[in-house]
């Protein structure tokens, strides 16, 4: 075991001398931090450093970040953010309703167990197989597409509706498949955490169920609700495989632009590729940061 030598020394030290004990005990976490540095922090540091360098001369510059204002890059960020926002809000809203329905909606308890187990699976059913499954359902030759055309005379891909799975809307429908269940999984324990006493107290004070939700339950759930929606935002913002498999890159997304840049320097500017990647990390960092903050707020309320 890697910690053995350091630990052996630390055991002999007395608690009265925390300074010395601390210095040797440090060695126990070295393997973890070393590994993280080698395969995550330093490589991303290479991207970060490269994003501030002129790719030809190597001189420090912020030109790469200025070049992010190229129309196709702005469009990609716009589309990625739009899809992430839409799926986060829609997925969050229906995920919350679904969690509410099975917990407080008076459905048999078995449905709740089923939904939770299924959500665990569905939230992990992403990437290539998910894209394929929707192609078989709502694709040009998909089962649902065919069924609607043959039996109900609704031609999804016809001029009147003009639907296509391989567009922004199509991608949003597919992304919701993993957004939804994630919301259910996080909201269900939060709804469960609403204490009976709060409800009884508000009823004692004469509140209607509507007033209870408006003034007690929703304000308590809001940090979790918002936080989870932001998590969903990050979840779809960083997704690449699903979109790549479904559209082969025909929708401009940041992850797909970066993919093209990795496969072959499409911008003819490595520095710009680095800046593109760092821009994405910044968006994700902001999203996860807000999520972590809101999560801490809600934990204070819902801790039992």
């Amino acid at each position: 075991m890697t910690v053995a030598p350091a630990a052996q020394n630390a055991r002999g030290a007395l608690p009265a001398r925390p300074g010395r004990r601390f210095s040797t005990a440090w060695l126990g976490v070295v393997p973890f931090f070393l590994f993280s540095a080698l395969f995550m922090v330093l490589p991303v540091g290479v991207l970060l450093a490269g994003s501030f360098e002129d790719p030809v001369s190597g001189a420090p510059t912020i030109q790469n970040y200025i070049d992010l204002s190229e129309p196709n890059i702005v469009e990609a960020y716009g589309t990625s953010i739009e899809i992430s926002l839409v799926t986060a809000v829609v997925g969050g809203f229906f995920g919350f309703l679904l969690a509410y329905a099975v917990i407080l909606g008076g459905l048999p308890r078995i449905f709740r167990t089923l939904l939770m187990t299924f959500s665990g699976v569905a939230s992990n059913f992403a990437g290539v197989p998910l894209a394929l499954a929707f192609t078989f359902t709502l694709g040009f030759q998909g089962l649902a597409t065919k069924f609607l055309a043959d039996n109900l005379g609704i031609d999804l891909y016809g001029k009147a509706i003009g639907f296509s799975l391989y567009t922004k809307l199509g991608l949003e429908i597919v992304y919701l498949y993993f957004q939804f269940p994630l919301m259910v999984l996080i909201m269900a324990p939060a709804i469960d955490g609403l204490k009976r006493e709060w409800r009884e107290a508000s009823e004692n004070l004469g509140a209607s169920p509507r007033e209870y939700w408006q003034h007690v339950a929703l304000p308590i759930l809001t940090p979790t609700l918002l936080g989870t929606m932001i998590l969903l935002f990050g979840n779809s913002f960083g997704a690449q495989a699903t979109a790549y498999q479904l559209t082969s890159g025909s929708i401009p997304l940041v992850t797909l632009l970066i993919s093209n840049q990795i496969s072959g320097d499409v911008f003819h500017n490595i520095g710009l590729g680095y800046a593109l990647a760092m821009g994405m990390v910044v968006v994700m960092a902001v999203a996860i940061g807000i999520y972590a903050r809101l999560q801490r707020t809600s934990e204070r309320w819902l801790r039992s």
Binding site: F39, L98, N124, V128, P129, F134, T137, L185, A239, I262
Partner: protein, 290 residues
């Protein structure tokens, strides 16, 4: 909505009224319940329709089950890619366990001050999406002192390293909550008083006690690794994700069959976690999107 309006009443009277008016403490009535059913049914249709369509598609090739036979019997790439991904997954889990268990244990026992830093690092994979991580790894290791991208073995090292990083959030949270449930200080002191060294304490005392947490983290990692596409494809690994992606572009019915098999594997992994989670009262974790 979720119960009849009671209005202001004396607290004493409330008890009896409440128990008669609401036989199920948290149950809904009337329109609320119908609404719940509608939402639930819409959810069920949305969830199951793609699965049903994929299953139907996979069975369309005649004679019955031919698409599955094509894949299982006549496509060596199916078995080889699945075995490769399973193998990579297991190596990932072993390395992740070796890194996370001692670290989480040590932080709890001796270094509580380091805890925020460890938590921060284990959350970083959420901030750095796989496509950025693989981009960074390719740039950092395509030359310089460690040119790992040049050889096949080097690329295998990189893919495992990337997956170990991806597993950090799940493994750390699973193991840390497992450690919270036991009294590691007393266990450690008891083991020490019987002459056990640190390696033995971790292996024979701590590990068996966080077994359930560890296994649930491990299966989640396995589910992620087996279906992973982005990292494996950029590192040109003969893994299951890239195989399925290629099949999806080349063939019609076989990808449906493989998707069903892949879904079955995810279901199996999650089922095991749910089963374990029930006995240990630990919350089930979820992976991010791909």
């Amino acid at each position: 909505m979720t119960g009849p309006s009671l209005g202001p009443r004396a607290p004493g009277a409330l008890e009896s009224i409440q128990s008669s008016a609401r036989p199920r403490p948290r149950g809904g009535v009337g329109a609320g319940r119908i609404g719940s059913w509608i939402i639930f049914l819409v959810g069920v249709i949305y969830f199951f329709l793609p699965l049903v369509a994929t299953l139907a598609f996979s069975l369309r090739l005649q004679p019955f089950g031919q698409a599955y036979r094509n894949v299982l019997n006549d496509d060596p790439a199916f078995a080889s890619s699945l075995i490769y991904s399973l193998f990579i997954g297991i190596v990932t889990i072993v390395i992740s366990t070796l890194l996370i268990v001692p670290t989480a244990y040590w932080v709890r026992l001796r270094l509580p001050r380091v805890r925020p830093y460890v938590e921060f690092v284990t959350l970083l994979p959420f901030v750095i999406p796989p496509v950025i991580l693989v981009f960074a790894l390719l740039r950092a290791y395509s030359g310089g002192p460690l040119p790992l991208t040049v050889t096949d073995q080097g690329l295998n090292v990189l893919v495992v390293a990337a997956y170990v990083i991806l597993s950090f959030p799940y493994m750390y949270r699973a193991i840390d909550s497992g450690l919270r449930a036991i009294d590691i200080r007393t266990l450690t002191e008891a083991a020490q008083s019987m002459g056990a060294g640190w390696g033995r304490i971790l292996w024979a005392v701590i590990l068996p006690n966080v077994r359930v947490a560890l296994i649930s983290g491990a299966f989640l990692t396995l589910a992620i690794v087996i279906g992973e596409y982005t990292i494996a494809s950029f590192l040109v690994r003969p893994a299951f994700g890239p195989y399925l992606s290629l099949l999806g572009h080349d063939r019609a019915f076989e990808p449906a069959a493989v998707s069903i098999i892949s879904f079955g594997l995810t279901w199996l992994a999650m089922g095991i976690i749910a089963l374990l989670g029930r006995s240990s009262r630990q919350s089930v974790q979820v992976a991010g999107a791909r």
